[in-house]
């Protein structure tokens, strides 16, 4: 243990602890900016400088490991002067149109300015010396360099967590900036639109592209029938933007709020999550049969899930030779979109051209996905607008809804029913667990052999998880699987996806089925989720997801009565011709630079 003193308080901590963490243990607050718990230490904003007795310069608390006998002071005149200067310097290169900014009151620089830099401006405006253009090319997010404070959180996120490096630091000195490959627009580089950078940007330099006004216009348009769907991970995180603690479920209140906002049909992506399990589970079993029994050489294993549009774009760019390993299932959002303007329209006797389909997603890549040309199987744009969890919170605030005091209510019928298997889609491992609950039962006629249906080996925050399930007691149709040890893996965060893919490329992947989610923690940690998101917050949201599952009466996708009904009335069987028309898609090879 290392003993040191911070503001005259003694503390002993493990070697390797930073001065910042030691201070936090003492409940001494040191302001930070470039620091983020998910990322490596940068030590470049210098907001966290503190004074160490005997040191020539101030030290960055986030980057300095503790040393025996250190005497640290966090609030001396020298420290305060430096901090004020640093915040003022950042403000001088930041276009402070705060009242108009999407991040107003959610901006970390603004909060610091409020503490350290109120009153007269010290330094000269540097914005006028630079030429800035806002990159609006991506359908998912916008990049405004005039608000960038060069903390490099986005760069570290894109490299360390996502293994993409769509954005990187370019140039030096006054010309240093966060740029893309050859300064191309973000829509034309290898970017998965995952929005993890957006989620970590402390200012308004990276924000999602908002479609709030377009959605309001649709709601106010009397001609239009506005259908809204909500993704599983939204209900466990929306509360954070409305004054709740991380991990508090607000499903019922959210449904009521959507109704009050004026949406015409409040439906649930969970319904198509259940449908995804039917389609993808069947696809997996069929693929196994074709490979193991029919000796089909054109197909190969593992089969990958396809719910995460960030992951889809990743494999399209980086491992296009394995596109045929992807499940052809659309994501639940897009299955929903295709059905809303066909099945739902006919059931409700609506003119599909008058339906506006909105989805609330924890994700920014979903905005991109909705724009893909493949996603028009209803004859219209299947999903018109995608809003993030954060945008929904904005709408609720705009409408003046007293969210905390709302009564809970239920989703509308037909495409609003779901099971616990669908809700866990929101957490890493959830799709796998849901698929196993159904597939195992199809094959053996019995429930998965895990207590209370909780397949714990596929849960948790480990980057790559794996599990083996021995299939025993198969029914006659599935005898070929008797005794087979089904090997599955789950990866979340693209850096982990890349580990799986490397193994696949080497031909050394032992798995039959792999679930991959682009974002750390799965959708609960999505780029469109409330800010901040950290490991602790993701864990709380994950707990909420599993508790939502446990509170459901039905917890297996194939038991969803709406799902049973839609096959009976509309689709026929899983992987039928009708499902292929509406619920399945294909992928595109993209350039890798």
């Amino acid at each position: 243990m290392i003993s040191l003193s911070i503001n005259h308080q003694k503390i002993s901590v493990q070697p390797g602890t930073t001065v910042l963490d030691a201070a936090r243990k003492l409940k001494i607050n040191i302001p930070t900016l470039c620091n983020h718990p998910d990322l490596c230490v940068a030590g470049n904003c210098r907001v966290c400088v503190v004074e160490q007795t005997g040191a020539r310069t101030l030290i960055a608390a986030c980057a300095m490991p503790v040393a025996e006998g250190m005497d640290i002071h966090t609030n001396t005149l020298k420290v305060r002067n430096a901090r004020k200067h640093i915040v003022e310097l950042l403000l001088s290169e930041h276009r402070s149109d705060c009242t108009k900014c999407y991040k107003n009151q959610k901006c970390e620089l603004q909060a610091l300015a409020n503490e350290f830099a109120f009153g007269d401006t010290i330094f000269l405006d540097l914005i006028e010396d630079h030429q800035y253009t806002i990159d609006r090319s991506s359908p998912s997010f916008m990049k405004d360099d005039s608000k960038c404070i060069h903390c490099q959180r986005c760069v570290r996120t894109c490299t360390e967590l996502q293994y993409i490096s769509a954005i990187a630091v370019a140039n030096k000195g006054a010309h240093q900036k966060i740029s893309s490959f050859h300064d191309r627009p973000m829509s034309h580089v290898v970017c998965t639109n995952c929005g993890q950078c957006v989620n970590r940007c402390p200012t308004g330099a990276l924000v999602e592209k908002t479609y709030i006004d377009q959605v309001w216009d649709a709601i106010y348009d009397k001609e239009k029938h506005v259908v809204v769907q909500t993704a599983p991970a939204v209900r466990v995180a929306l509360g954070e933007d409305l004054g709740y603690n991380p991990g508090e479920r607000v499903t019922g209140k959210m449904v009521t709020a959507l109704r009050q906002l004026g949406f015409d049909s409040i439906l649930d992506t969970d319904f198509t999550a259940d449908l995804t399990i039917m389609e993808e589970g069947t696809e997996l079993l069929t693929r196994l049969k074709k490979i193991l029994v029919d000796g089909d050489k054109k197909l190969s294993l593992p089969m990958f899930t396809s719910c995460s549009p960030g992951w889809i774009k990743f494999i399209e760019h980086k491992y296009p030779e394995f596109l045929s390993n992807l499940s052809t299932c659309k994501s639940p959002q897009q299955m929903f979109g295709a059905l809303a303007k066909t099945f739902y329209a006919s059931k409700m006797k609506l003119d599909p051209s008058k339906i506006v389909s909105v989805s609330i997603m924890p994700c920014t890549a979903k905005k991109y996905e909705a724009d893909r040309p493949e996603m028009r199987s209803s004859g219209y744009k299947d999903i018109d607008f995608v809003l993030t969890t954060r945008e929904l919170a904005v709408m609720i605030k705009q409408a003046g809804i007293d969210f905390r005091n709302l009564e809970s209510s239920h989703y509308d019928s037909i495409m609003g029913d779901s099971t616990g298997a669908a809700v866990i889609f929101g957490a890493t491992g959830g799709v796998m667990e849901a698929a196993l609950r159904t597939a195992y039962e199809i094959v053996t006629g019995r429930e998965v052999p895990f207590a209370n249906l909780n397949i714990t080996p596929v849960r948790g925050m480990e980057g790559v998880k794996e599990a083996t399930i021995k299939i025993e007691g198969c029914t006659n149709d599935w005898k070929f699987l008797e005794g087979v040890e089904l090997k599955v893996a789950i990866a979340h965060g693209l850096v982990n996806a890349n580990k799986i893919m490397r193994q696949v490329r080497k031909g050394k992947s032992p798995y039959h089925f792999v679930e991959i989610m682009a974002c750390p923690g799965g959708c609960i940690g999505g780029g469109g989720q409330p800010i901040p998101t950290s490991m602790e917050i993701r864990k709380n949201r994950m707990k909420a997801i599993y508790s939502e599952d446990e509170h459901m009466v039905l917890r297996k996708s194939h038991e969803n009565p709406d799902v049973i009904a839609i096959y009976k009335e509309f689709l026929g069987n899983p992987n039928s011709h009708a499902s292929h028309e509406l619920l399945h898609t294909h992928y595109v090879e993209r350039e890798s630079y």
């Binding site: 490991p65 310097l89 001088s92 330094f123 000269l124 540097l126 060069h150 490099q152 006054a174």
Partner: protein
């Protein structure tokens, strides 16, 4: 105050028998080599002045099979051109110093990080390196030197930015600790020394530490190669004993009208005429990596300062706030003062900013911008304003 006067020395460019010296070194223990360098009182010749023997001692103490000697030949300080001359004339002594350092710390690999603009020297340097490799192989050393070229960024002369550059990354300084002695290039223990330091170390081993420590003053032992430029009738490279005053220097090199000397380049200090007599060139006064630039009365110190600030605003890596934004603010600030667009008292705010940069910047670049700024503004305030 110890005063030594201006004495020319011939040590760095002195011809020696490398084979003889290195054969002697081959039989010496690492401890003995380090002790001799410690005894000599040699401090790093790049400018920062860390005791070389201590650096080697720390690196030697780290238990690790793979260690590196890095020769910092990224000579980028404005007004410095002595490393080019040294590499041009006595590259074998640079390599020799690396082998000695390697023996001292237990390293088998050396890297010379050569300034991008010196690319033209590489063919000749490689020829000399080849014969040097043959020589040390004969003696029995297991040591291999490689070259790595910079790409023109000033910041890559900062040791940890240099490591990043060698590794193929952006030239951005790292957080310290860890220091290079434990985690340098490729995260291995590394002793990184300036070109001149390595040659000096070889000369210390050649002639013994006593004769070397006899030169100079208590705080600044030995001699140093100076790059003299600016308003002087005799620009060039001169090896001088440390401990002279700026006055003595100006008496030798000035043109009779010297009003200021910039000691240590853009990151160094400006000494005005009234302080020539009381300022010693060395670690007890104004330290220098070798750059000595003289200005006569025809020069506008505003232009001089503007030039330096322009340089820093360009050459900051842009990573940390105080340096990236601070350099731009200082530059724009003096421009506005000059144009009369802000009050002249704004210079006081800028001096405070320079002080913040000195204590809050991540690396030596940002920390030293304030040196030139403060000394020029304080001594030539009227030239900045009017």
């Amino acid at each position: 105050m110890e005063k030594r006067g201006l004495n020319k020395v011939d040590l760095i460019f002195e011809k020696i028998d490398a084979k003889e010296v290195l054969t002697k070194v081959f039989k010496m223990s690492p401890e003995k080599i380090i002790q001799q360098v410690l005894d000599s009182g040699l401090k790093g010749r790049g400018g920062a002045g860390f005791p070389t023997g201590l650096k080697w001692k720390y690196t030697a103490a780290v238990k690790e099979s793979e260690k590196y000697i890095v020769c910092n030949a990224d000579e980028g300080e404005p007004g410095t051109f002595k490393d080019r001359e040294i590499l041009d004339k006595v590259a074998y002594k640079v390599y020799g110093g690396m082998v000695i350092a390697g023996k001292a710390i237990g390293a088998k690999k050396g890297i010379v990080y050569l300034r991008g603009e010196y690319r033209f020297m590489l063919p000749q340097l490689m020829i000399e390196l080849e014969s040097f490799h043959k020589l040390i192989k004969q003696i029995g050393f297991e040591f291999k030197i490689n070259y790595c070229l910079g790409s023109g960024a000033y910041i890559c002369g900062e040791e940890s930015a240099l490591f990043e550059s060698v590794e193929g990354g952006r030239g951005e300084p790292r957080n310290k600790p860890p220091y290079p002695t434990t985690s340098g290039v490729f995260n291995k223990p590394t002793a990184i020394n300036n070109v001149e330091t390595l040659v000096t170390a070889m000369m210390i081993i050649t002639h013994g530490p006593e004769s070397y420590s006899h030169l100079g003053t208590k705080d600044s032992r030995g001699s140093k190669v100076f790059s003299v430029s600016g308003d002087t009738p005799t620009p060039g490279i001169f090896e001088l004993e440390l401990g002279m005053s700026v006055q003595e220097f100006v008496n030798e090199f000035g043109d009779g009208d010297t009003k200021a000397v910039q000691v240590g380049g853009a990151s160094g200090f400006c000494v005005p005429r009234k302080k020539f007599g009381s300022t010693i060139i060395g670690f007890e006064g104004v330290p220098t990596g070798g750059s000595m630039k003289l200005f006569n009365s025809s020069r506008s110190m505003y232009n001089v300062l503007h030039n330096y600030l322009d340089f820093f605003a360009e050459e900051s890596c842009g990573q940390c706030t105080p340096c990236r934004v601070g350099c731009q603010q200082l530059l724009k600030g003096v421009q506005k003062v000059k144009k009369g667009e802000v009050k002249t008292t704004y210079l006081n705010e800028l001096i405070k900013l320079a002080d913040t940069m000195k204590v809050a910047s991540k690396c030596g670049l940002g920390q030293s911008v304030g040196n030139a700024f403060r000394t020029i503004v304080e001594n030539f305030r009227e030239e900045i304003i009017y």
